[in-house]
């Protein structure tokens, strides 16, 4: 039981790191980005290449994956995404699904369709035994890393000048513009940072989630659940939602394995019926 809780928390933390970039882009620009998972996959593959082929140490591979995907995200944002912000939601959905299809086929072409594994250092394999609960060392690492990241994100959002600009832009874009905040630049940076986080999540999660070319399609639903259930107005909402989702999914797969992800979808639909703006939203979304 506690093991499930532990694994679920690790899983949920991972989902949060993967999805928080998405929640910010959605909340800030009201932009539906279904291609978020593609960046996560890019991060995962980047680590695979760095660690397995070139022999970069795992601890260095993770930040490099972050940087590479952040750069990639920034590049895409400036060249492609900027054209689609003002379009209706249908266009955004089509555009980003198109990107997902392309990324899936391109990854298949370059890396092959088989599942990839990141070589994890010996020290991280195995389990601790605390109070009779088996805790995987790697999962513990994930919880620690993601926990630190979450705290850092919260601090950045709450304490820094950039954070207050971002929050202002999320709350009311037009007024923020009027106050002289360069919303476009704020968004570009946030998008790149969010993509980088997704890449980091993909690199960390390659071991748990599995990494193959269909990754963006498989986990797209999960990211969207986190965002829609959590609401987009803060990062606490998506955080709680992803922990809930992680524990719910692990528990569901443990207790009723034959139903698969049915439990999660059912919970999502019920939540969205009761609270269309998300569980933890402050008010009606714009």
């Amino acid at each position: 039981m506690l093991t499930i809780l532990f694994d679920g928390t690790a899983y949920g933390m991972l989902l949060f790191v993967l999805a928080c970039g998405l929640s910010v882009t959605l909340g800030l620009m009201n932009f539906i980005n279904l291609a978020h998972g593609a960046f996560a996959m890019a991060g995962g593959y980047c680590t695979v290449v760095l660690v397995n082929r070139i022999g970069v140490p795992f601890a260095l591979g993770l930040p490099l994956a972050f940087l590479a995907t952040a750069l990639l995200g920034g590049l895409f944002e400036r060249t492609l995404y900027v054209h689609v912000y003002a379009r209706p939601h249908l266009d955004q959905v089509l555009f980003t699904i198109g990107l997902v299809f392309m990324s899936v086929a391109a990854t298949d072409y370059v890396m092959g369709s088989s599942q990839q594994f990141v070589r994890i250092p010996e020290a991280l394999a195995g389990q601790f035994n605390v109070f009779g609960i088996g805790m995987g060392k790697y999962r513990l690492l994930i919880i620690v890393v993601c926990g630190v990241l979450t705290a850092a994100l919260q601090l950045i959002l709450a304490k820094t000048r950039f954070g207050s600009r971002l929050r202002a832009a999320v709350d009311d874009q037009r007024v923020a513009r009027g106050l002289g905040i360069n919303v476009g630049a704020v968004f570009g940076i946030t998008f790149a940072f969010g993509s980088g986080l997704a890449g980091l999540g993909g690199a960390l999660g390659a071991e748990i989630l599995g990494l193959d070319p269909t990754f963006p399609l498989k986990y797209m639903i999960y990211f969207l659940i986190v965002v829609t259930v959590g609401g987009t107005s803060s990062i606490t909402g998506p955080f709680l939602a992803s922990i809930l989702l992680g524990i719910g999914d692990v528990a569901g797969k443990y207790y009723v394995p034959t139903l698969g992800a049915f439990v999660i979808y059912a919970i999502m639909i019920v939540v969205l019926i009761v609270r269309p703006q998300g569980l933890f939203a402050r008010g009606p979304a714009r």
Binding site: A105, G260, M268, L272
Partner: protein, 349 residues
């Protein structure tokens, strides 16, 4: 009737009249039964896809509901049609088709209440969630659905007891095209009726539509149910013509491809889904022979390109092409008619 009402009614009637382009489209479609016998298998798939896209056009193009979950109805009805044929519950394919459509419509009615609330994203997630849940259920009850291996051992009886399905798809194509035509007639009648006009009003602005007395929610429920029925018939057709049904009828890719089909053809004028289906199927066939494994990449590229070029610009091209075609046909008709008029004129004098 007041003069204004009469005037409006007349205008609407004129708008609903069959144009030369429409007649030509269906003549060509039915002519392909005899003219393209070696292409019947792919044409069958095209007709099914066209019906499926028509169902999405009804809710997306006319009522403005974005859905990624049409596959839920397609798949449910597909399995229903497969099961009743396999266990011999309903032997006549046409009756089974209608029943499958009704089952899908019932499912659509139940789930329609879920799409009434929330923003586009919420609707997207709810429709997607419903189809994914059904997919999980179909996988779970693999003793009924056949699970990942698909539902096998379906034998479909001859249509109306007369026409046996053959392996070249000749019967299947004629059957699918006829069903498509009938459904199209129904859809056409619907969208040109006051009901269809009220849907357009809702799509334009739901709040104002409510203010002029249109029962917004009831209309949305109605069109969602009808659309589900159409999607279900498409699914049943697929099962009946292929005598097979597998889990991918409920997959996300099916719904996503459907959006693409409709976008290629254009939304909101009924022919979008049909034309889109033809272009999509033949393009897929062509790309798949070039690069069998990576055709998805080109589909994705096409989607991105369509959005970057702009759907409104594409719509303008559609408009221009249709206007040109219409001019051509009316011109051709007028040209045919003119000598007759000229001949009749002297008599009257």
């Amino acid at each position: 009737m007041t003069p204004l009402a009469a005037d409006v009614a007349q205008r609407l009637r004129r708008r609903a009249r069959w144009s030369g382009f429409e007649i030509a489209f269906w003549v060509v479609a039915f002519a392909s039964i005899w003219l393209l016998p070696q292409k019947h298998l792919i044409l069958t798939e095209t007709a099914i896809l066209a019906l499926f896209a028509l169902s999405l056009d009804l809710i997306l193009g006319y009522a403005g509901i974005i859905s990624l979950g049409q596959a839920a109805f397609f798949g449910t009805a597909g399995y229903f049609a497969g099961l009743v044929a396999k266990y011999g519950l309903i032997n006549d394919p046409v009756l089974a088709l209608v029943c499958s459509g009704l089952v899908a419509a019932a499912l659509g009615f139940v789930t329609s209440f879920l799409v009434l609330r929330g923003s586009d994203l919420t609707r997207l997630m709810v429709t997607l969630g419903v189809s994914l849940m059904l997919g999980e259920l179909a996988n779970r009850y693999s003793n009924i659905t056949g699970g990942a291996d698909g539902l096998q051992g379906i034998t479909v009886a001859p249509i109306l007891g007369l026409f046996q399905f053959d392996m070249f798809g000749h019967t299947g194509y004629a059957y699918c095209l006829s069903v498509l035509f009938v459904c199209f007639l129904v859809a056409r009648r619907l969208v040109y009726s006051p009901f269809g006009l009220s849907l357009r009003a809702i799509k334009g602005n739901a709040l104002r539509a409510g203010a002029v007395g249109i029962p917004v929610n009831a209309r949305l429920v109605a069109i969602y149910t009808i659309s589900a029925g159409f999607a279900g018939m498409a699914g049943a057709l697929l099962t009946q013509t292929t005598a097979f049904c597998s889990l991918d009828v409920l997959s996300l890719e099916r719904s996503a491809d459907l959006l693409l089909v409709l976008i290629i053809g254009g939304t909101g004028y009924l022919y979008g889904g049909l034309i889109g289906a033809v272009i999509y199927k033949f393009m897929q066939d062509w790309i798949a022979t070039l690069t069998p494994q990576y055709w998805q990449f080109w589909i994705g590229l096409l989607l991105v390109a369509i959005v970057l070029v702009g759907r409104d610009r594409m719509a303008a091209w559609h408009e221009a092409a249709r206007a040109a075609l219409a001019r051509f046909f009316t011109g051709a008709m007028a040209w045919r008619r003119r000598p007759a008029l000229g001949g009749a004129a002297p008599d009257r004098r």
